[in-house]
């Protein structure tokens, strides 16, 4: 009873504090003649955003959306790459090969102990900017143009029927998954080899190819060609984005590697011994016995690293990649109210983080050990 009373009192206290602070803010803004509302979001942003169709005449709210998309682009790709690299390095740290083991250890100890901001700035000024300038850009087989203004690779351009074709590709994916599931069930029932990746892949390729022919080339490939200072065609990976991505991935992967190593070591030794007794190869032992069990242990701390990576992406301000924090900074600097802009920024990061937590929790629950 007393405990409940304390809890209620605490919530009331927090609420009162919140109310006081908000009231204080509003009064003070009004006294200084600064706007208290959010009307400014409809004003034109006035700035250009690189690699985006955004125009300066578009409202500020659109600029924030562009920033959010760019943050997500950095985070999602970063999370995927950091996971792959982290697992590789984590496994390498437990390798029986001396060189691999020590190399992985050196990687982890150096990257983990350098601030990620320093890594990002180093990647930008000392690595990415030192690539050949556009006038001496490397061009490989007419497919890739590579300079310190970005990496340009071939990319599809939508033609007529592209939308329908996208639907076909989506359907092909779904069909491939269904076929894969069916093969798995066959395997469970009859023990006949499942080859589910082969089957699924074949379905995907055949359906996509059929769709491509049916819609008479809905997507055409454009090759990058350099004309003076610009590269026409293809899709560009900007140097600022690249520096951010490399920095974030290298840093986060060093943490993930340690999580992976710890989780593998936490799998009971008897499991490894049992796998050895069954004469499984090293890869099989890892793939079918150790990693699946380690995954269950590593997931919660892994989600934590994903959250860190997403939040660390705001360090892109140092290298001028147009993500959420940078665009908010620009908005504030152009005579728009700071308190409201920062509040929006915080809410968006909070939403992103909660979303990642939510996904992690769902995955975690589905992987949890079901004890009978």
């Amino acid at each position: 009873m007393l405990r409940a009373a304390f809890q209620v009192a605490f919530v009331v206290l927090v609420g009162a504090l919140l109310w006081y602070l908000l009231g204080n803010l509003r009064t003070n803004l009004r006294v200084s003649g600064l706007p208290t509302g959010f009307d400014y979001l409809d004003r034109p942003a006035g700035v250009d955003i690189r690699d985006s169709p955004f125009r300066p005449s578009q409202p500020i709210r659109d600029a924030i959306v562009v920033g959010l998309v760019n943050t997500v682009r950095g985070s999602v790709v970063g999370i995927a790459l950091a996971t792959v690299l982290g697992i590789l390095v984590g496994v390498a740290r437990l390798s029986t090969n001396w060189l691999v083991r020590k190399g992985a250890a050196v990687y982890v100890e150096t990257l983990r102990n350098v601030p990620v901001l320093v890594t990002i700035i180093f990647m930008y000024t000392a690595v990415v900017l030192r690539l050949p300038p556009i006038s001496r850009a490397s061009e490989w087989l007419g497919l890739i143009v590579f300079s310190n203004r970005g990496l340009v690779v071939p990319w599809g351009v939508a033609g007529t029927g592209a939308r329908a074709f996208t639907g076909v590709v989506g359907g092909a994916f779904a069909l491939a998954v269904i076929v894969g599931l069916w093969r798995s069930r066959r395997f469970d029932e009859t023990g006949e080899p499942h080859h589910r990746v082969l089957w699924g892949g074949a379905v995907l390729v055949i359906v996509t190819a059929a769709g491509y022919v049916a819609f008479s080339r809905p997507v055409t490939l454009t090759l990058p060609t350099r004309e003076g200072r610009i590269v026409q065609g293809g899709i560009q990976l900007g140097p600022e984005y690249a520096a951010l991505l490399i920095g974030l991935v290298l840093y986060t992967a060093s943490h993930i590697a340690e999580i992976v190593r710890g989780s593998i070591l936490a799998v009971p030794k008897g499991q490894t011994e049992a796998a050895n007794a069954l004469a499984l190869s090293g890869f099989q032992r890892l793939r079918f016995v150790v990693l699946p069990q380690a995954l269950r242990i590593m997931l919660p701390p892994l989600a934590n690293q994903y959250l860190n990576l997403t939040k660390n992406s705001s360090l892109a301000v140092a290298v001028g990649y147009f993500e959420l924090t940078r665009i908010t900074g620009q908005i504030i600097a152009n005579a728009n109210p700071a308190p409201q802009s920062i509040a929006i920024l915080m809410l968006l990061y909070l939403a992103l983080s909660l979303l990642i937590s939510l996904v992690a929790n769902i995955v975690n629950r589905s992987l949890a050990l079901e004890t009978r």
Partner: protein, 371 residues
């Protein structure tokens, strides 16, 4: 259900944090007398509201001045690690006028994106950091601009060996620019008006920008002409860089203070005006002592010397010492001296006076009468 409650609490806490974070902005900005980290307590707060910033700066004995630390000639740290430059000298002018000591300044280096927040939050008393006077900054940033100290305009700097002669040649180029500046906005509108396709490459600080420019990340670097000249002069070989002739904006630069404290505004404004007036009267740091005995009653009045029919000292009621102009000119110099020392033709920047000449020489500097 439980996780829902937790989520709600998290959200509430985040909002509280946001509100708290902002309050330091708005809260101190609201009180024109807000000091750097004011001590708590009701009585102190009471006193704070009663006394204006002029009194507070006096009792503190030091002026807190927001400056640039990256633009040679205007605001930078010299070899001895001292802040130096044209804008920095104006901090000293204000300190000399208000406190009688040009060295009683604490400099706060600020980035373009930090500067207005620092001013609004009361972290600095005055911002002297090549800031352009615009309507929206006056209107929505809670800033009050005093007399312009430097009439500038935006220009474009390119590599000397590049083919660009005019802005129109810069089709399909990448342009480096400092973010959060009027320059960035002018760039967007000038290039849109000329239908010149370009890629903006914005940076927070001049140092990263300079590295990117040197490594050919961008083809042009746009900024105020004076700033570009400063950067160019600082290069081992300035001839490698070229500044295009076209000036595509008006950039009146000058110190600014927070809105809503008229006494402080007046003091800062007249400290700045005094430098221009001194040049017009021919009062320099070398001859200021002799000029006190000038036959010209206007000069004697300006320097706070007894004069006129009743032989009294003129006090315009600015809250400054009647002889503040003597402190300003003897310790820092008149406008011409400040200009020549930092950015004039004999400095590495080598900027001619141009628009920054006195009105008597065809420029724009025109001091209101001191009477």
């Amino acid at each position: 259900m439980r996780s829902g409650v937790v989520g709600l609490l998290t959200l509430a806490l985040a909002l509280a944090l946001a509100a708290a974070g902002c309050t330091t902005d708005g809260g101190q900005g609201a009180q024109p007398a807000g000091d750097v980290a004011p001590p708590g307590g009701g009585q102190a707060a009471q006193q704070r509201q009663e006394r204006n910033l002029l009194d507070r700066v006096r009792s503190r004995g030091e002026l807190v001045c927001g400056v640039n630390a990256e633009v040679p000639g205007f605001g930078f740290t010299d070899e001895q690690g001292n802040f130096s430059g044209f804008d920095v000298d104006y901090c000293k002018v204000i300190a000399a006028a208000v406190l009688g000591d040009a060295e009683a300044v604490e400099f706060r280096p600020l980035s373009t994106e930090q500067r207005f927040t620092a001013l609004q939050a009361g972290e600095i008393d005055v911002l002297s950091r090549n800031t352009t006077y615009t309507a929206s900054r006056d209107g929505s940033e809670g800033a009050a601009f005093v007399t312009t100290t430097f009439y500038d305009g935006q220009a474009m700097m390119v590599k000397a060996d590049s083919e660009f002669q005019r802005l129109e040649d810069m089709q399909d180029t990448a342009i480096c620019v400092l973010s959060g500046t009027t320059t960035e906005l002018n760039l967007a509108s000038r290039f849109a008006a000329g239908r010149i396709a370009y890629q903006p490459v914005p940076f927070e600080d001049n140092e990263t920008l300079q590295q990117a420019f040197e490594q050919d990340r961008c083809d042009g670097w746009t900024s105020d002409r004076s700033q570009l000249a400063g950067v160019r002069s600082n290069r081992p070989n300035p001839a490698e860089l070229r500044i295009l002739d076209e000036i595509f904006s008006k950039e009146p630069l000058g110190p600014l203070v927070r809105d809503g404290d008229q006494d402080w505004y007046d003091a800062v404004n007249w400290a700045v005006i005094a430098t221009i007036q001194a040049e017009e009267f021919g009062v320099t740091s070398r001859n200021v002592e002799q000029m006190k005995d000038s036959d010209n009653p206007e000069v004697r009045r300006f320097l706070g010397q007894p004069g006129g029919d009743d032989n009294t000292v003129f006090d315009p009621g600015l809250g400054l010492d009647p002889a503040f102009a003597v402190d300003v000119v003897s310790q820092v110099g008149n406008y011409g001296e400040i200009y020549d020392r930092n950015v004039g033709p004999d400095t590495p920047l080598g900027l001619e006076r141009g628009l920054n000449a006195l009105w008597t020489d065809g420029g724009l500097h025109y001091a209101p009468p001191y009477r």
